[in-house]
Amino acid sequence: MENEESKVNLKQQKFLQSFMSKGILDTKEVKTLLTELNVPTDSAEELLNLVHSTNEAIAPFNLEIRKGIQEDDGANFYCLVNTVETPISRLSSTYTQSELELFKKLIEQIVDSEDGKIGSLAALSLTDKVEKRIGKEEAQEIFDRFERDKWIRKDRDGKISLSVRSLLELDQYLKDVYSEFIKLCNICSKICLLGDTCANCGIKIHLKCAKSLFSRQGEKKTCPAPDCRVVWGQMRTKV
C-alpha cells in the first residue's frame, strides 16, 4: 500500500519539478515528460488527471499549471504560473525591480499597439521611460533574458510580442490594468494582442482563429460580429 502511494507521489513530484525548472512546456516536451513518468502519451485523460492532482496539491502555494494557446500559430503549451501576487512572491529575485519596470513598460507599448508587436528599436527606447537609467546594451541583455525565459517572442522581422507564458501568467493583470484597452478575441474570447482588427467595427481576432473562420466562410471573408458583417478589411460604405 505504502509503496503504491510513494510511487504516485514520486510521479507527481517529478511532474511538478519539471514544470518548476522549465516554467513552460510545449507539446513535445510534455510528451517527453510523460514518457519519463511511464504515462501513456496518447491519453489525454491521464495527462489531465496528472495536471489536476498536481494543481490540487500546489494550490495552497498559489501555484497552478495552466494550458494556453500560442496566439499566432495555435500551438498548445502548459505553463506553471503564480496565481496571486503576494508580498512573499515579490521576494523572488529572478529579475530586479528595474527589470520588471522595463517589462511593464514593454507590456504597455504592446497593448497600445494595433497588432500586438513592437519593433526592437522601439523596445530599446523604452529605457528612457524607466526611473532608473538603463543603458541600451544592458537593456538588450535584459530583453535577451526575457526571450530566453520565454516571456517574449521575436518574429522573423525582430518584432517583439508577448509569449503565451506571459499571457497565461499575466491574464488577470492585463485584464485589470488595461481593461479599457485590451480586446478579447471575438472567436475564442481569450485576450487578443497578436491579431487582426476589423476595419469597420474594431473587433479583434487571432490570426489562427481568423484562419479557421475564413476557411469555413469560403470566398467572402466577413467580420464575425453580428452588428457588422462587413467584408473583412473594409469599412462599411456610408449610405
Binding site: 507521489n9 514520486l10 507527481q12 513530484q13 517529478k14 511538478l16 519539478q17 519539471s18 518548476m20 525548472s21 522549465k22 516554467g23 516536451e29 517527453t32 515528460l33 514518457t35 519519463e36 496539491a57 500546489i58 495552497p60 502555494f61 498559489n62 501555484l63 506553471l80 503564480n82 496571486v84 501576487e85 503576494t86 508580498p87 512573499i88 512572491s89 515579490r90 521576494l91 523572488s92 529575485s93 529572478t94 529579475y95 525591480q97 520588471l100 519596470e101 517589462f103 511593464k104 525565459d149 516571456w151 506571459s166 501568467e169 499575466l170 488577470q172 493583470y173 485589470d176 490594468v177
Partner: protein
C-alpha cells in the same frame, strides 16, 4: 592524494567538458526559479507597488498580524502559516544561500514565533511529499539556517525534463570539480594546491574568467556563502587557507558520486582508489570521523580540523 600527473591528465578533459557540457557534472538539480510578475488589481493601481522592498514587505505583513508577540495558532491559522513558509522557502532557495530562521520569523511569524517548530515541521513534510525537496537544518558555522535538497534527483532517466540556466550549470560543474579535488586530496586542500589544480583548467585567482568572472570571489565568497565549501584560516605566521566540503556539499553530493565523478574525468575506476573507497564504506556505515581528514602533503602546515 591527487598526484600532479593525474591533474595533468584530468585538466584537458575537464577543460573541454566544463566549457562544452557542464551538465554532465551537475550535483543535485536545484529547485527552481519561480518568476513573479507584478499583478493583482490593488497592487497595480497603487503607484509604487513595484518599488516595494523587502523591508516594506515585512511591514505590510506585520500590519495584518496581531500585536501580540506570541500568539497560539489554531489549526486553520497554522495551515496558512505553513503554506506561507513553504512559499517563502521555495522562493528564497533560488539564491542558494541558506535561509535564516530569524528571517523566516521576522518576515512571516513575528507574532507567533513560538509556533516556529510546529510550522517548520509541517513545512518539511509538505515540501517532501508535494515537491520532493528535503528541508535540512544546518549547524556549526551555519547554525539556524535551512537549505532545500532535492530528494529525487537521481531518479531521472531523461535529463531534458529538467532545465537549468547555462550559468548555473557551469557553476555546478565547477563546484563538482572542486569538491572532487578536495575529496581526492584527503577531504581538505590548501588554497595554493587548489589554485595549482585550477590553473590547469584555465582558472586563475587574478584573471577574470569568461564564464565565471572573478573566480577567487566565486570560490571563497559565493560558494562558501551557499554552503558548498568551508574555508578555515590557519593561525600561523604565514596564514594559509584550507578548503573543506561545506555542509550543503555533504547533503547534496555523496562521496560515492564524488569518486565516480573524478574517475569519469581522469579515466580511472572507483576500485582503483582504496582510501576513498574505505571512506565511502565507512560513511555508509556511520558518520565521518577525524581519521578521514589526512595531513596535507607539505610538512609543517595546518593540523586536521576535527580531532
Amino acid at each position: 592524494m591527487l598526484r600532479s600527473a593525474d591533474l595533468d591528465r584530468a585538466h584537458l578533459k575537464i577543460k573541454a567538458l566544463l566549457l562544452v557540457n557542464p551538465e554532465a557534472y551537475t550535483i543535485s538539480e536545484l529547485p527552481l526559479i519561480i518568476f513573479t510578475m507584478p499583478r493583482t488589481s490593488q497592487a497595480s493601481k497603487q503607484i509604487n507597488a513595484s518599488q516595494r522592498s523587502v523591508t516594506d514587505t515585512t511591514q505590510l505583513l506585520s500590519l495584518s498580524q496581531s500585536q501580540a508577540s506570541s500568539k497560539q495558532l489554531d489549526a486553520a491559522e497554522l495551515e496558512k502559516k505553513v503554506n506561507e513558509v513553504v512559499q517563502y522557502l521555495l522562493i528564497l532557495d533560488q539564491k542558494k544561500v541558506p535561509i535564516k530562521k530569524r528571517d523566516i520569523i521576522r518576515v512571516l511569524m513575528k507574532d507567533c514565533s513560538k509556533s516556529f517548530s510546529a510550522v517548520i515541521e509541517q513545512a518539511k513534510i509538505k515540501l517532501s511529499k508535494i515537491f520532493g525537496f528535503q528541508l535540512v537544518e544546518l549547524d556549526e558555522k551555519l547554525k539556524g539556517t535551512f537549505i532545500l535538497v532535492n530528494n529525487i534527483n537521481h531518479t531521472w532517466e531523461d535529463d531534458s525534463c529538467i532545465e537549468s540556466l547555462p550559468e548555473e550549470n557551469a557553476k555546478q560543474g565547477l563546484i563538482s570539480v572542486i569538491l572532487g579535488i578536495i575529496f581526492m586530496n584527503g577531504n581538505v586542500i590548501r588554497e595554493e594546491d587548489l589554485w595549482h589544480a585550477l590553473k590547469k583548467l584555465g582558472l586563475h585567482p587574478e584573471e577574470k574568467h569568461v564564464t565565471f568572472g572573478n573566480v577567487k570571489s566565486l570560490i571563497f565568497e559565493e560558494f562558501v556563502k551557499q554552503g558548498f565549501l568551508e574555508v578555515v584560516q590557519s593561525n600561523e605566521e604565514q596564514p594559509t587557507k584550507s578548503l573543506y566540503w561545506g555542509q550543503r556539499a555533504h547533503h547534496e553530493l555523496s562521496k560515492e558520486n564524488a569518486l565516480k565523478l573524478v574517475c569519469q574525468i581522469n579515466g580511472t575506476k572507483p576500485e582503483d582508489w582504496l582510501q576513498q573507497q574505505q571512506q565511502i564504506n565507512r560513511s555508509t556505515a556511520g558518520q565521518m570521523n577525524s581519521a578521514d581528514v589526512s595531513e596535507p602533503s607539505v610538512p609543517g602546515s595546518s593540523k586536521p580540523r576535527r580531532g
